[in-house]
């Protein structure tokens, strides 16, 4: 059976796309996800994320930083949710700042959750049990 786009994995390790312009944060989030046995692709921009999403059909969740140059995580979220091919993929936003307007804007746009950095393994476990198996 072909893997369904987004949501539940139908076989093999779930594939998470992590998007963050910070090399430190990419390393941390990738390791947190891998330690929970997820396959991870980490990219440094929204542009690269969209390029990858156009090529790979098996991304089960996107976790993206909010504040990135050129394309913010919010803008990436909008592009994903506007796409008939991508909109089923759960998107989680991360930010180092607790800004209520920012959080509600992302949730209204279709983000599944909003995490405050630094991300903890317990955050990832909670998310992935909701969206990935």
């Amino acid at each position: 059976m072909a893997m369904e786009r987004g949501c539940k994995s139908t076989g093999g390790e779930p594939h998470v796309l992590a998007v963050d312009d910070s090399s430190v944060d990419r390393a941390v989030i990738a390791n947190v996800l891998r330690s929970s046995k997820y396959r991870v692709t980490a990219v440094d921009s929204g542009k690269r994320a969209l390029e990858l999403l156009g090529l790979e059909r098996d991304v089960n969740m996107i976790i993206t930083d909010y504040w990135m140059p050129e394309m913010t995580g919010y803008e990436l979220l909008k592009r994903v949710k506007e796409s008939s091919e991508l909109k089923q993929i759960p998107v989680v936003i991360m930010s180092s700042e607790n800004v209520p307007n920012r959080i509600s804007r992302c949730l209204e746009e279709g983000a599944e959750d909003f995490l405050l950095k630094p991300i903890q393994p317990s955050d990832v476990s909670r998310l992935c049990s909701r969206f990935l198996r």
Binding site: V24, D25, A27, V28, S35, W67, S96, P118, P121
Partner: protein
């Protein structure tokens, strides 16, 4: 030096870094993520943090040297450094960045200059400790590799 003595020295160093406020519980989280499948994780993150920090500090120095300071650019860089220091558990660097951002918000050049010096001081102090930490880890790892062969 025997490996147990090296390990004790390493533990003592890391404990003192926590006690001094150089590191916070986020660094403990990183240590807990390091395991047999990824034994170099902490070293990788620390190295990335140092590379990133030095790039940012160089940019901040250039920006603050300008006759007319672009505070939004300064703030953007300080925000980045605050983020990565938070992710690695570099507590004092993070706190210094928070203070720096306040001066940016006030467009206070003198305050920003002082804050930049504080951030540099805290970063270089931490970097020195990280270098010792990684050196000790490498020595322990080299001994363990030799024992296995």
């Amino acid at each position: 030096m025997a490996p147990t003595a090296l390990q004790e020295k390493l533990n003592g160093l890391v404990n003192s870094m926590f006690a001094e406020g150089l590191l916070d519980e986020q660094f403990q989280q990183l240590q807990m993520l390091q395991d047999g499948s990824n034994p170099g994780f902490v070293a990788e993150v620390v190295t990335l943090f140092c590379e990133d920090s030095e790039r940012i500090l160089a940019e901040l120095t250039k920006l603050m040297d300008q006759a007319v300071v672009d505070y939004s650019k300064v703030d953007a860089y300080v925000h980045q450094l605050k983020g990565s220091s938070s992710s690695v558990g570099a507590q004092n660097v993070k706190l210094a960045c928070i203070q720096f951002r306040q001066f940016c918000e006030d467009n206070n050049k003198e305050g920003c200059m002082r804050a930049l010096n504080v951030v540099k001081h805290e970063y270089y102090h931490l970097r020195s400790k990280f270098e010792t930490m990684l050196h000790l880890e490498n020595r322990i790892q080299a001994y363990e590799t030799k024992q296995q062969s």
